[in-house]
Protein backbone atom coordinates (compact mmCIF):
# COMPACT_ATOMS: atom_id res chain seq x y z
CA UNK A 1 0.00 0.00 0.00
CA UNK A 2 1.42 3.31 -0.96
CA UNK A 3 1.77 6.22 1.41
CA UNK A 4 -0.93 8.26 -0.37
CA UNK A 5 -3.38 5.39 -0.19
CA UNK A 6 -2.66 4.88 3.48
CA UNK A 7 -3.19 8.56 4.26
CA UNK A 8 -6.42 8.56 2.25
CA UNK A 9 -7.73 5.54 4.14
CA UNK A 10 -6.86 6.94 7.54
CA UNK A 11 -8.38 10.32 6.63
CA UNK A 12 -11.66 8.66 5.76
CA UNK A 13 -11.58 6.72 9.01
CA UNK A 14 -10.84 9.87 11.00
CA UNK A 15 -13.71 11.66 9.24
CA UNK A 16 -16.02 8.82 10.23
CA UNK A 17 -14.80 9.09 13.78
CA UNK A 18 -15.54 12.82 13.72
CA UNK A 19 -19.04 12.00 12.53
CA UNK A 20 -19.48 9.54 15.40
CA UNK A 21 -18.27 12.10 17.92
CA UNK A 22 -20.58 14.80 16.52
CA UNK A 23 -23.52 12.37 16.74
CA UNK A 24 -22.61 11.45 20.28
CA UNK A 25 -22.44 15.12 21.20
CA UNK A 26 -25.87 15.71 19.68
CA UNK A 27 -27.39 12.78 21.54
CA UNK A 28 -25.71 13.78 24.77
CA UNK A 29 -27.16 17.27 24.70
CA UNK A 30 -30.64 16.19 23.60
CA UNK A 31 -31.17 13.12 25.74
CA UNK A 32 -29.97 14.58 29.02
CA UNK A 33 -32.71 15.24 31.56
CA UNK A 34 -32.14 18.99 31.56
CA UNK A 35 -34.35 21.00 29.20
CA UNK A 36 -32.45 23.66 27.24
CA UNK A 37 -35.43 25.97 27.81
CA UNK A 38 -34.97 25.74 31.56
CA UNK A 39 -32.24 28.33 31.70
CA UNK A 40 -34.06 30.92 29.57
CA UNK A 41 -37.59 30.83 30.84
CA UNK A 42 -38.75 32.94 33.71
CA UNK A 43 -42.06 32.12 35.38
CA UNK A 44 -43.77 35.26 34.04
CA UNK A 45 -43.62 34.15 30.42
CA UNK A 46 -46.89 32.99 28.91
CA UNK A 47 -47.10 29.50 27.40
CA UNK A 48 -47.44 31.08 23.96
CA UNK A 49 -44.15 32.87 24.36
CA UNK A 50 -42.48 29.67 25.51
CA UNK A 51 -43.89 27.89 22.49
CA UNK A 52 -42.58 30.67 20.24
CA UNK A 53 -39.11 30.38 21.73
CA UNK A 54 -39.17 26.63 21.19
CA UNK A 55 -40.02 27.22 17.55
CA UNK A 56 -37.29 29.84 17.15
CA UNK A 57 -34.75 27.41 18.56
CA UNK A 58 -36.09 24.51 16.54
CA UNK A 59 -36.92 22.51 19.63
CA UNK A 60 -40.45 21.76 18.38
CA UNK A 61 -39.07 19.65 15.55
CA UNK A 62 -38.68 15.90 15.81
CA UNK A 63 -35.35 14.41 16.88
CA UNK A 64 -34.28 13.23 13.38
CA UNK A 65 -35.09 16.67 11.95
CA UNK A 66 -33.10 18.33 14.71
CA UNK A 67 -30.26 15.96 13.98
CA UNK A 68 -30.02 16.80 10.28
CA UNK A 69 -30.22 20.51 11.10
CA UNK A 70 -27.50 20.12 13.72
CA UNK A 71 -25.21 18.29 11.31
CA UNK A 72 -25.74 20.86 8.57
CA UNK A 73 -25.02 23.74 10.90
CA UNK A 74 -21.99 22.05 12.40
CA UNK A 75 -20.52 21.53 8.94
CA UNK A 76 -21.03 25.22 8.22
CA UNK A 77 -19.44 26.14 11.54
CA UNK A 78 -22.65 27.47 13.01
CA UNK A 79 -23.10 26.57 16.63
CA UNK A 80 -25.84 28.97 17.58
CA UNK A 81 -25.79 31.86 20.01
CA UNK A 82 -24.28 31.89 23.47
CA UNK A 83 -26.84 32.01 26.30
CA UNK A 84 -24.37 33.81 28.48
CA UNK A 85 -22.65 36.34 26.22
CA UNK A 86 -25.43 36.69 23.66
CA UNK A 87 -22.80 36.51 20.95
CA UNK A 88 -22.38 34.15 18.06
CA UNK A 89 -20.57 30.99 19.20
CA UNK A 90 -18.54 30.92 16.01
CA UNK A 91 -17.14 34.36 16.82
CA UNK A 92 -16.24 33.32 20.35
CA UNK A 93 -14.45 30.22 19.12
CA UNK A 94 -12.56 32.16 16.48
CA UNK A 95 -11.42 34.63 19.08
CA UNK A 96 -10.37 32.01 21.65
CA UNK A 97 -8.81 29.42 19.38
CA UNK A 98 -5.44 31.05 18.49
CA UNK A 99 -4.22 31.43 22.12
CA UNK A 100 -5.07 27.79 22.80
CA UNK A 101 -3.35 26.54 19.69
CA UNK A 102 -0.30 28.64 20.51
CA UNK A 103 -0.02 27.40 24.10
CA UNK A 104 -1.04 23.80 23.50
CA UNK A 105 1.17 23.19 20.47
CA UNK A 106 4.24 24.76 22.04
CA UNK A 107 3.62 22.83 25.24
CA UNK A 108 3.18 19.48 23.51
CA UNK A 109 6.21 19.87 21.26
CA UNK A 110 8.42 21.05 24.12
CA UNK A 111 7.34 18.46 26.66
CA UNK A 112 7.71 15.69 24.15
CA UNK A 113 11.20 16.74 23.07
CA UNK A 114 12.37 17.23 26.64
CA UNK A 115 10.87 13.89 27.70
CA UNK A 116 12.43 11.99 24.80
CA UNK A 117 15.81 13.62 25.28
CA UNK A 118 16.05 13.00 29.02
CA UNK A 119 14.55 9.52 28.72
CA UNK A 120 17.11 8.54 26.11
CA UNK A 121 20.00 9.70 28.25
CA UNK A 122 18.86 8.09 31.48
CA UNK A 123 18.11 4.79 29.74
CA UNK A 124 21.59 4.80 28.30
CA UNK A 125 23.17 5.42 31.69
CA UNK A 126 20.94 3.02 33.54
CA UNK A 127 21.85 2.07 37.10
CA UNK A 128 23.50 5.40 37.74
CA UNK A 129 22.59 8.15 40.14
CA UNK A 130 21.24 10.23 37.27
CA UNK A 131 18.72 7.57 36.34
CA UNK A 132 17.65 7.06 39.92
CA UNK A 133 17.24 10.75 40.57
CA UNK A 134 15.32 11.58 37.43
CA UNK A 135 13.10 8.52 37.74
CA UNK A 136 12.10 9.44 41.27
CA UNK A 137 11.55 13.09 40.31
CA UNK A 138 9.60 12.00 37.25
CA UNK A 139 7.34 9.73 39.27
CA UNK A 140 6.67 12.46 41.79
CA UNK A 141 5.79 14.99 39.11
CA UNK A 142 3.69 12.37 37.35
CA UNK A 143 1.63 11.77 40.50
CA UNK A 144 1.10 15.43 41.33
CA UNK A 145 -2.25 16.92 40.38
CA UNK A 146 -1.54 19.38 37.58
CA UNK A 147 -3.69 22.17 38.99
CA UNK A 148 -1.79 21.99 42.27
CA UNK A 149 1.54 22.49 40.48
CA UNK A 150 0.00 25.51 38.72
CA UNK A 151 -1.12 26.99 42.03
CA UNK A 152 2.26 26.42 43.66
CA UNK A 153 4.07 27.93 40.67
CA UNK A 154 1.92 31.06 40.72
CA UNK A 155 2.28 31.29 44.47
CA UNK A 156 6.09 31.07 44.41
CA UNK A 157 7.06 32.82 41.16
CA UNK A 158 4.32 35.38 40.71
CA UNK A 159 2.97 36.07 44.16
CA UNK A 160 6.07 35.77 46.38
CA UNK A 161 8.89 36.59 43.99
CA UNK A 162 6.91 38.76 41.59
CA UNK A 163 8.83 37.48 38.57
CA UNK A 164 5.86 36.79 36.34
CA UNK A 165 2.34 38.12 35.90
CA UNK A 166 -0.42 36.40 37.87
CA UNK A 167 -2.25 35.50 34.70
CA UNK A 168 -3.60 36.69 31.39
CA UNK A 169 -1.99 36.76 27.98
CA UNK A 170 -0.99 40.35 27.39
CA UNK A 171 -0.47 43.70 29.09
CA UNK A 172 -3.48 45.66 27.91
CA UNK A 173 -1.67 48.99 27.91
CA UNK A 174 0.60 47.85 25.11
CA UNK A 175 -2.23 46.65 22.93
CA UNK A 176 -4.60 49.60 22.80
CA UNK A 177 -4.69 51.25 19.38
CA UNK A 178 -3.15 54.47 20.65
CA UNK A 179 -0.08 52.77 22.14
CA UNK A 180 1.48 52.12 18.74
CA UNK A 181 3.70 49.36 20.08
CA UNK A 182 6.17 47.73 17.70
CA UNK A 183 5.42 44.12 16.87
CA UNK A 184 8.50 42.75 18.59
CA UNK A 185 7.45 44.24 21.93
CA UNK A 186 4.00 42.71 21.52
CA UNK A 187 5.52 39.30 20.82
CA UNK A 188 7.84 39.61 23.81
CA UNK A 189 4.88 40.62 25.96
CA UNK A 190 3.00 37.48 25.01
CA UNK A 191 6.13 35.43 25.56
CA UNK A 192 6.54 36.94 29.02
CA UNK A 193 2.97 36.04 29.93
CA UNK A 194 3.28 32.61 28.39
CA UNK A 195 6.50 31.63 30.13
CA UNK A 196 5.02 30.39 33.41
CA UNK A 197 2.01 28.48 32.02
CA UNK A 198 4.23 26.95 29.39
CA UNK A 199 6.88 25.87 31.88
CA UNK A 200 4.31 24.44 34.25
CA UNK A 201 2.62 22.62 31.39
CA UNK A 202 5.90 21.08 30.30
CA UNK A 203 6.76 20.13 33.89
CA UNK A 204 3.37 18.44 34.23
CA UNK A 205 3.47 16.48 31.02
CA UNK A 206 7.09 15.61 30.29
CA UNK A 207 7.57 12.97 33.05
CA UNK A 208 5.09 10.62 31.39
CA UNK A 209 7.01 10.79 28.13
CA UNK A 210 10.34 10.49 29.92
CA UNK A 211 9.42 7.37 31.89
CA UNK A 212 7.87 5.77 28.83
CA UNK A 213 10.90 6.60 26.70
CA UNK A 214 13.16 5.08 29.34
CA UNK A 215 11.18 1.84 29.47
CA UNK A 216 10.94 1.44 25.71
CA UNK A 217 14.59 2.33 25.26
CA UNK A 218 15.64 -0.22 27.91
CA UNK A 219 13.72 -2.93 26.06
CA UNK A 220 15.31 -1.97 22.77
CA UNK A 221 18.79 -2.00 24.28
CA UNK A 222 18.32 -5.69 25.04
CA UNK A 223 17.72 -6.52 21.36
CA UNK A 224 20.23 -8.55 19.36
CA UNK A 225 20.96 -5.86 16.81
CA UNK A 226 22.28 -3.60 19.54
CA UNK A 227 24.70 -6.32 20.60
CA UNK A 228 25.68 -6.70 16.95
CA UNK A 229 26.28 -2.99 16.65
CA UNK A 230 28.42 -3.09 19.77
CA UNK A 231 30.34 -6.07 18.45
CA UNK A 232 31.03 -4.19 15.23
CA UNK A 233 32.82 -1.63 17.37
CA UNK A 234 30.52 1.29 16.62
CA UNK A 235 30.81 4.26 18.91
CA UNK A 236 28.40 4.59 21.82
CA UNK A 237 26.84 7.71 20.39
CA UNK A 238 26.12 6.08 17.03
CA UNK A 239 24.51 3.07 18.69
CA UNK A 240 22.45 5.24 21.00
CA UNK A 241 21.23 7.77 18.48
CA UNK A 242 21.11 5.79 15.25
CA UNK A 243 20.35 2.22 16.26
CA UNK A 244 18.39 2.41 19.49
CA UNK A 245 16.66 5.79 19.47
CA UNK A 246 15.39 5.43 15.89
CA UNK A 247 13.61 2.19 16.64
CA UNK A 248 12.22 3.64 19.80
CA UNK A 249 10.52 6.38 17.76
CA UNK A 250 7.80 3.97 16.63
CA UNK A 251 6.23 3.03 19.95
CA UNK A 252 6.80 6.58 21.12
CA UNK A 253 4.59 8.00 18.36
CA UNK A 254 1.77 5.83 19.69
CA UNK A 255 2.39 7.20 23.15
CA UNK A 256 2.32 10.74 21.79
CA UNK A 257 -1.07 10.06 20.25
CA UNK A 258 -2.49 8.91 23.54
CA UNK A 259 -0.89 11.62 25.62
CA UNK A 260 -2.36 14.24 23.29
CA UNK A 261 -5.85 13.07 24.21
CA UNK A 262 -4.92 13.09 27.87
CA UNK A 263 -3.29 16.50 27.95
CA UNK A 264 -6.38 18.30 26.61
CA UNK A 265 -7.95 18.20 30.05
CA UNK A 266 -4.74 19.31 31.70
CA UNK A 267 -4.34 22.27 29.38
CA UNK A 268 -7.90 23.37 30.09
CA UNK A 269 -7.12 23.59 33.77
CA UNK A 270 -3.84 25.40 33.10
CA UNK A 271 -5.70 27.93 30.96
CA UNK A 272 -8.32 28.45 33.65
CA UNK A 273 -5.85 28.95 36.49
CA UNK A 274 -3.56 31.24 34.49
CA UNK A 275 -6.53 33.17 33.05
CA UNK A 276 -5.25 32.35 29.57
CA UNK A 277 -7.96 33.53 27.17
CA UNK A 278 -8.19 30.21 25.36
CA UNK A 279 -10.84 27.79 24.21
CA UNK A 280 -10.26 25.37 27.06
CA UNK A 281 -10.90 27.96 29.75
CA UNK A 282 -13.90 29.24 27.80
CA UNK A 283 -15.25 25.69 27.56
CA UNK A 284 -14.90 25.11 31.29
CA UNK A 285 -16.59 28.35 32.25
CA UNK A 286 -19.33 27.74 29.68
CA UNK A 287 -19.98 24.32 31.20
CA UNK A 288 -20.10 25.89 34.67
CA UNK A 289 -22.54 28.58 33.49
CA UNK A 290 -24.74 26.05 31.68
CA UNK A 291 -23.98 27.89 28.44
CA UNK A 292 -24.64 24.85 26.28
CA UNK A 293 -24.16 26.27 22.76
CA UNK A 294 -20.64 27.42 23.63
CA UNK A 295 -19.80 24.21 25.47
CA UNK A 296 -21.08 22.13 22.56
CA UNK A 297 -19.28 24.15 19.90
CA UNK A 298 -16.02 24.25 21.82
CA UNK A 299 -16.23 20.53 22.48
CA UNK A 300 -16.74 19.70 18.81
CA UNK A 301 -13.94 22.01 17.72
CA UNK A 302 -11.57 20.53 20.30
CA UNK A 303 -12.47 16.99 19.27
CA UNK A 304 -11.88 17.93 15.62
CA UNK A 305 -8.48 19.46 16.41
CA UNK A 306 -7.58 16.39 18.39
CA UNK A 307 -8.47 14.14 15.48
CA UNK A 308 -6.40 16.26 13.10
CA UNK A 309 -3.48 15.89 15.50
CA UNK A 310 -4.07 12.13 15.58
CA UNK A 311 -4.04 12.04 11.79
CA UNK A 312 -0.74 13.91 11.72
CA UNK A 313 0.85 11.47 14.15
CA UNK A 314 -0.45 8.54 12.15
CA UNK A 315 1.08 9.93 8.98
CA UNK A 316 4.29 10.36 10.92
CA UNK A 317 3.98 6.75 12.02
CA UNK A 318 3.58 5.57 8.44
CA UNK A 319 6.56 7.64 7.44
CA UNK A 320 8.66 6.09 10.19
CA UNK A 321 7.56 2.50 9.70
CA UNK A 322 7.86 1.22 6.12
CA UNK A 323 5.91 -1.91 7.07
CA UNK A 324 2.73 0.14 7.14
CA UNK A 325 3.30 1.76 3.78
CA UNK A 326 4.22 -1.28 1.74
Amino acid sequence: MSMAKYIARRSVEILMLMFVIATLTFLLFRLMPSDPMGIQIDPYRTPEEVQMMREVWGLDKSLPEQYTLFMKNTLRGEFGRSYYWGKDVYGIIREKLPPTVLLFTTMTVMSFSVGMYVGRIIAWRRGGKLEYGSTVTGMFLFSMPGFWICLLAIWVFSFKLGLFPLGGMKTDMLWVASANTPLIIKALDIGYHMFLPLTVGVVISFPGTMLMMKNVMLETLGEDYITTAKAKGLSEKVIRDHHAARNVMLPMVTVLTLSLVGSIGGSMIIETIFCWPGLGAEFLSAAMNYDYPVAQGAFIIMAALLLVALLITEILYAYLDPRIRY
Binding site: L17, V20, I21, L24, L28, F29, M32, P33, S34, M139, F140, F142, S143, M144, P145, G146, F147, W148, L151, L152, I154, W155, F159, N215, L218, E219, G222, L258, V261, G262, I264, G265, G266, M268, I269, T272, F283, L284, A287, M288, Y290, Y292, A295, Q296, F299, M302, A303, L306, L307, L310
Partner: protein, 304 residues
Protein backbone atom coordinates in the same frame (compact mmCIF):
# COMPACT_ATOMS: atom_id res chain seq x y z
CA UNK B 1 14.37 -32.79 42.36
CA UNK B 2 14.11 -36.52 42.94
CA UNK B 3 13.43 -35.98 46.62
CA UNK B 4 10.57 -33.67 45.98
CA UNK B 5 9.04 -36.15 43.62
CA UNK B 6 9.13 -38.84 46.28
CA UNK B 7 7.42 -36.62 48.82
CA UNK B 8 3.70 -36.56 49.22
CA UNK B 9 2.10 -34.52 46.47
CA UNK B 10 1.25 -31.05 47.67
CA UNK B 11 -2.36 -30.11 48.17
CA UNK B 12 -3.89 -27.30 46.17
CA UNK B 13 -3.76 -24.98 49.16
CA UNK B 14 -0.11 -25.66 49.86
CA UNK B 15 0.73 -24.93 46.25
CA UNK B 16 -1.24 -21.74 46.32
CA UNK B 17 0.41 -20.63 49.56
CA UNK B 18 3.82 -21.32 48.11
CA UNK B 19 3.05 -19.34 44.99
CA UNK B 20 1.87 -16.38 47.02
CA UNK B 21 5.02 -16.58 49.14
CA UNK B 22 7.21 -16.62 46.03
CA UNK B 23 5.42 -13.65 44.53
CA UNK B 24 5.74 -11.74 47.77
CA UNK B 25 9.49 -12.50 47.86
CA UNK B 26 9.89 -11.14 44.33
CA UNK B 27 7.75 -8.15 45.20
CA UNK B 28 9.89 -7.39 48.26
CA UNK B 29 12.99 -7.44 46.13
CA UNK B 30 11.65 -4.66 43.95
CA UNK B 31 11.76 -2.10 46.80
CA UNK B 32 9.54 0.35 44.90
CA UNK B 33 6.58 -1.91 45.48
CA UNK B 34 7.37 -2.09 49.18
CA UNK B 35 7.56 1.70 49.48
CA UNK B 36 4.20 1.89 47.69
CA UNK B 37 2.65 -0.59 50.12
CA UNK B 38 4.03 1.43 53.01
CA UNK B 39 2.47 4.68 51.81
CA UNK B 40 -0.79 2.90 51.07
CA UNK B 41 -0.83 1.46 54.58
CA UNK B 42 -0.34 4.93 56.01
CA UNK B 43 -3.31 6.31 54.09
CA UNK B 44 -5.44 3.29 54.94
CA UNK B 45 -4.83 3.97 58.63
CA UNK B 46 -5.73 7.61 58.01
CA UNK B 47 -8.93 6.56 56.24
CA UNK B 48 -9.97 4.22 59.04
CA UNK B 49 -9.32 6.81 61.70
CA UNK B 50 -11.47 9.37 59.89
CA UNK B 51 -14.42 8.55 62.11
CA UNK B 52 -12.53 9.32 65.34
CA UNK B 53 -12.40 13.17 65.38
CA UNK B 54 -16.18 13.65 64.95
CA UNK B 55 -16.75 11.34 67.93
CA UNK B 56 -14.49 13.45 70.13
CA UNK B 57 -16.31 16.68 69.49
CA UNK B 58 -18.99 17.81 67.10
CA UNK B 59 -16.82 20.65 65.84
CA UNK B 60 -14.56 18.11 64.18
CA UNK B 61 -17.25 16.94 61.75
CA UNK B 62 -15.50 17.47 58.41
CA UNK B 63 -18.41 18.79 56.37
CA UNK B 64 -20.39 21.08 58.66
CA UNK B 65 -18.82 21.07 62.08
CA UNK B 66 -17.38 24.43 63.00
CA UNK B 67 -15.43 25.57 66.02
CA UNK B 68 -17.67 28.06 67.85
CA UNK B 69 -14.59 29.96 69.10
CA UNK B 70 -13.02 30.26 65.66
CA UNK B 71 -15.51 30.94 62.92
CA UNK B 72 -12.92 31.93 60.38
CA UNK B 73 -9.59 30.77 59.04
CA UNK B 74 -6.87 30.04 61.61
CA UNK B 75 -3.31 28.72 61.55
CA UNK B 76 -2.38 25.34 62.99
CA UNK B 77 -2.81 25.08 66.74
CA UNK B 78 -3.03 22.36 69.38
CA UNK B 79 -6.80 22.19 69.05
CA UNK B 80 -6.62 22.05 65.25
CA UNK B 81 -3.46 20.33 64.05
CA UNK B 82 -3.68 21.80 60.57
CA UNK B 83 -5.71 24.88 61.36
CA UNK B 84 -9.23 25.64 60.21
CA UNK B 85 -10.67 26.72 56.89
CA UNK B 86 -12.51 29.94 56.19
CA UNK B 87 -15.67 28.56 57.80
CA UNK B 88 -13.90 27.35 60.91
CA UNK B 89 -13.95 23.69 59.95
CA UNK B 90 -11.08 21.52 61.13
CA UNK B 91 -8.66 20.84 58.27
CA UNK B 92 -7.10 17.77 59.85
CA UNK B 93 -10.38 15.87 60.09
CA UNK B 94 -11.15 16.97 56.53
CA UNK B 95 -7.84 15.48 55.46
CA UNK B 96 -8.70 12.17 57.15
CA UNK B 97 -12.14 12.14 55.51
CA UNK B 98 -10.46 12.97 52.20
CA UNK B 99 -8.20 9.93 52.35
CA UNK B 100 -11.23 7.74 52.92
CA UNK B 101 -12.93 9.10 49.80
CA UNK B 102 -9.75 9.03 47.71
CA UNK B 103 -9.31 5.33 48.47
CA UNK B 104 -12.96 4.53 47.84
CA UNK B 105 -13.11 6.46 44.57
CA UNK B 106 -9.73 5.31 43.28
CA UNK B 107 -10.18 1.63 44.04
CA UNK B 108 -13.82 1.39 42.92
CA UNK B 109 -13.31 3.26 39.66
CA UNK B 110 -10.18 1.31 38.81
CA UNK B 111 -11.77 -2.03 39.72
CA UNK B 112 -14.88 -1.43 37.64
CA UNK B 113 -12.88 -0.25 34.67
CA UNK B 114 -10.38 -3.10 34.88
CA UNK B 115 -13.16 -5.70 35.14
CA UNK B 116 -14.65 -4.15 31.99
CA UNK B 117 -11.35 -4.18 30.15
CA UNK B 118 -10.55 -7.75 31.23
CA UNK B 119 -13.89 -9.09 30.06
CA UNK B 120 -13.72 -7.13 26.80
CA UNK B 121 -10.11 -8.20 26.22
CA UNK B 122 -10.89 -11.87 26.92
CA UNK B 123 -14.00 -12.02 24.75
CA UNK B 124 -12.53 -9.98 21.94
CA UNK B 125 -9.24 -11.88 21.88
CA UNK B 126 -10.70 -15.36 22.26
CA UNK B 127 -13.72 -15.22 20.00
CA UNK B 128 -12.32 -12.97 17.30
CA UNK B 129 -14.42 -12.26 14.21
CA UNK B 130 -17.25 -9.76 14.23
CA UNK B 131 -17.31 -9.49 18.03
CA UNK B 132 -13.65 -8.59 18.02
CA UNK B 133 -14.02 -5.94 15.33
CA UNK B 134 -17.02 -4.37 17.05
CA UNK B 135 -15.40 -4.27 20.48
CA UNK B 136 -12.11 -2.96 19.16
CA UNK B 137 -13.78 -0.22 17.14
CA UNK B 138 -15.72 0.83 20.22
CA UNK B 139 -12.50 0.85 22.20
CA UNK B 140 -10.86 3.08 19.59
CA UNK B 141 -13.73 5.54 19.64
CA UNK B 142 -13.73 5.73 23.44
CA UNK B 143 -9.95 6.12 23.39
CA UNK B 144 -10.06 9.15 21.11
CA UNK B 145 -12.88 10.82 23.02
CA UNK B 146 -11.45 13.66 25.06
CA UNK B 147 -12.39 12.16 28.42
CA UNK B 148 -12.03 15.10 30.74
CA UNK B 149 -14.08 17.55 28.62
CA UNK B 150 -16.72 14.87 28.17
CA UNK B 151 -17.08 14.35 31.92
CA UNK B 152 -17.25 18.13 32.34
CA UNK B 153 -20.09 18.34 29.81
CA UNK B 154 -22.03 15.49 31.37
CA UNK B 155 -21.51 17.00 34.79
CA UNK B 156 -22.82 20.31 33.54
CA UNK B 157 -25.84 18.73 31.84
CA UNK B 158 -26.76 16.82 34.98
CA UNK B 159 -26.36 20.05 37.01
CA UNK B 160 -23.70 18.65 39.31
CA UNK B 161 -22.73 15.05 39.81
CA UNK B 162 -22.65 12.75 42.79
CA UNK B 163 -19.48 10.92 43.74
CA UNK B 164 -20.84 7.67 42.25
CA UNK B 165 -21.57 9.37 38.93
CA UNK B 166 -17.94 10.44 38.83
CA UNK B 167 -16.81 6.88 39.57
CA UNK B 168 -19.02 5.47 36.80
CA UNK B 169 -17.86 8.07 34.28
CA UNK B 170 -14.17 7.56 35.06
CA UNK B 171 -14.47 3.81 34.72
CA UNK B 172 -16.55 3.96 31.54
CA UNK B 173 -13.90 6.08 29.87
CA UNK B 174 -10.88 4.27 31.25
CA UNK B 175 -11.22 0.69 30.00
CA UNK B 176 -9.96 0.69 26.37
CA UNK B 177 -6.20 1.00 26.96
CA UNK B 178 -5.90 -2.04 29.21
CA UNK B 179 -8.35 -4.06 27.11
CA UNK B 180 -6.08 -3.72 24.07
CA UNK B 181 -3.08 -5.08 25.97
CA UNK B 182 -5.12 -7.90 27.49
CA UNK B 183 -6.55 -8.81 24.10
CA UNK B 184 -3.03 -9.06 22.64
CA UNK B 185 -2.04 -11.33 25.52
CA UNK B 186 -5.12 -13.52 25.01
CA UNK B 187 -4.32 -13.84 21.32
CA UNK B 188 -0.93 -15.31 22.16
CA UNK B 189 -2.22 -17.44 25.05
CA UNK B 190 -4.96 -19.17 23.11
CA UNK B 191 -2.42 -20.70 20.72
CA UNK B 192 -0.53 -22.40 23.57
CA UNK B 193 -0.68 -26.21 23.95
CA UNK B 194 -2.43 -26.18 27.33
CA UNK B 195 -5.45 -24.54 25.78
CA UNK B 196 -5.57 -27.23 23.12
CA UNK B 197 -5.37 -29.94 25.74
CA UNK B 198 -8.14 -28.33 27.73
CA UNK B 199 -10.29 -28.23 24.64
CA UNK B 200 -9.48 -31.87 23.80
CA UNK B 201 -10.65 -32.79 27.30
CA UNK B 202 -13.99 -31.30 26.36
CA UNK B 203 -13.90 -27.94 28.10
CA UNK B 204 -16.47 -25.47 26.82
CA UNK B 205 -15.45 -22.12 25.40
CA UNK B 206 -16.68 -20.41 28.53
CA UNK B 207 -14.62 -22.70 30.72
CA UNK B 208 -11.51 -22.26 28.59
CA UNK B 209 -11.80 -18.49 28.72
CA UNK B 210 -12.54 -18.07 32.40
CA UNK B 211 -10.83 -21.09 33.92
CA UNK B 212 -7.71 -21.42 31.77
CA UNK B 213 -6.98 -18.09 30.10
CA UNK B 214 -8.29 -15.64 32.70
CA UNK B 215 -5.97 -16.73 35.55
CA UNK B 216 -3.02 -16.02 33.29
CA UNK B 217 -4.38 -12.58 32.53
CA UNK B 218 -5.14 -11.53 36.09
CA UNK B 219 -1.64 -10.26 36.98
CA UNK B 220 -1.81 -7.98 33.95
CA UNK B 221 -5.26 -6.80 35.00
CA UNK B 222 -3.96 -6.06 38.47
CA UNK B 223 -1.13 -4.04 36.97
CA UNK B 224 -3.55 -1.91 34.98
CA UNK B 225 -5.75 -1.56 38.00
CA UNK B 226 -2.98 0.03 40.05
CA UNK B 227 -2.25 2.52 37.28
CA UNK B 228 -5.99 3.06 36.96
CA UNK B 229 -6.24 3.99 40.63
CA UNK B 230 -3.60 6.68 40.12
CA UNK B 231 -5.53 8.04 37.16
CA UNK B 232 -8.87 7.96 38.95
CA UNK B 233 -7.56 9.75 42.04
CA UNK B 234 -5.99 12.50 39.92
CA UNK B 235 -9.11 12.78 37.75
CA UNK B 236 -11.45 13.10 40.74
CA UNK B 237 -9.18 15.74 42.28
CA UNK B 238 -9.16 17.76 39.06
CA UNK B 239 -12.93 17.50 38.65
CA UNK B 240 -13.56 18.54 42.23
CA UNK B 241 -11.12 21.39 41.91
CA UNK B 242 -12.82 22.95 38.90
CA UNK B 243 -16.10 22.77 40.80
CA UNK B 244 -17.72 19.67 39.35
CA UNK B 245 -17.23 17.56 42.43
CA UNK B 246 -19.83 16.35 44.85
CA UNK B 247 -20.23 19.22 47.34
CA UNK B 248 -21.49 16.85 50.04
CA UNK B 249 -18.30 14.80 49.94
CA UNK B 250 -15.13 16.02 51.59
CA UNK B 251 -12.40 14.97 49.18
CA UNK B 252 -8.92 16.43 48.83
CA UNK B 253 -9.83 18.02 45.51
CA UNK B 254 -12.87 19.57 47.18
CA UNK B 255 -10.69 21.01 49.97
CA UNK B 256 -8.50 22.69 47.38
CA UNK B 257 -11.57 23.98 45.58
CA UNK B 258 -12.95 25.54 48.76
CA UNK B 259 -9.57 27.12 49.33
CA UNK B 260 -9.43 28.48 45.78
CA UNK B 261 -13.01 29.78 45.86
CA UNK B 262 -12.63 31.49 49.22
CA UNK B 263 -9.60 33.39 47.95
CA UNK B 264 -7.07 32.11 50.47
CA UNK B 265 -5.11 30.14 47.90
CA UNK B 266 -1.97 32.29 48.03
CA UNK B 267 -2.32 33.20 51.69
CA UNK B 268 -2.84 29.96 53.57
CA UNK B 269 -0.10 27.40 52.86
CA UNK B 270 -1.38 25.20 55.71
CA UNK B 271 -4.62 24.86 53.75
CA UNK B 272 -3.14 24.37 50.26
CA UNK B 273 -0.19 22.11 50.91
CA UNK B 274 -1.55 19.08 52.84
CA UNK B 275 -4.33 18.00 50.43
CA UNK B 276 -2.05 18.36 47.40
CA UNK B 277 0.72 16.42 49.09
CA UNK B 278 -1.73 13.68 50.07
CA UNK B 279 -3.03 13.37 46.50
CA UNK B 280 0.54 13.17 45.21
CA UNK B 281 1.62 10.54 47.74
CA UNK B 282 -1.42 8.30 47.35
CA UNK B 283 -1.25 8.48 43.55
CA UNK B 284 2.45 7.74 43.79
CA UNK B 285 1.82 4.77 46.09
CA UNK B 286 -0.39 3.01 43.56
CA UNK B 287 2.01 3.88 40.77
CA UNK B 288 4.88 2.33 42.72
CA UNK B 289 2.87 -0.81 43.50
CA UNK B 290 2.16 -1.03 39.78
CA UNK B 291 5.85 -0.73 39.01
CA UNK B 292 6.66 -3.49 41.48
CA UNK B 293 4.02 -5.73 39.90
CA UNK B 294 5.33 -4.93 36.45
CA UNK B 295 8.78 -6.11 37.44
CA UNK B 296 7.35 -9.45 38.57
CA UNK B 297 5.30 -9.91 35.42
CA UNK B 298 7.99 -8.79 33.02
CA UNK B 299 11.28 -10.41 34.06
CA UNK B 300 13.19 -8.27 31.58
CA UNK B 301 12.67 -5.25 33.80
CA UNK B 302 14.25 -6.96 36.82
CA UNK B 303 17.72 -5.95 37.89
CA UNK B 304 20.40 -7.82 36.02
Amino acid sequence: MINSRLRKPKTKWQKRKERIRNTWRLFKETKVGLIGIGILLFFTIMAFSSFIPPRIDEMYIPLYGADPDIITISSPSLKHFLGTDSMGRDLFSQLLEGSKWALIIGVTAATVSVVLSTVVGLVSGYYGGVVDVLLQRTAEVVMTLPGFPLIVIIGSLLRGVSIWNIVVLISLLGWPGASKVIRAQVLSLKERPFIDSARVCGASNFRVVFRHIAPNILPLSFLYMTFGVTGAILMEAALSFIGLGDPTTVSWGMMLQWCYRSGFIYKAPFWVLPPGLCITLLALAFYLIGMGTEQIINPRLRKR
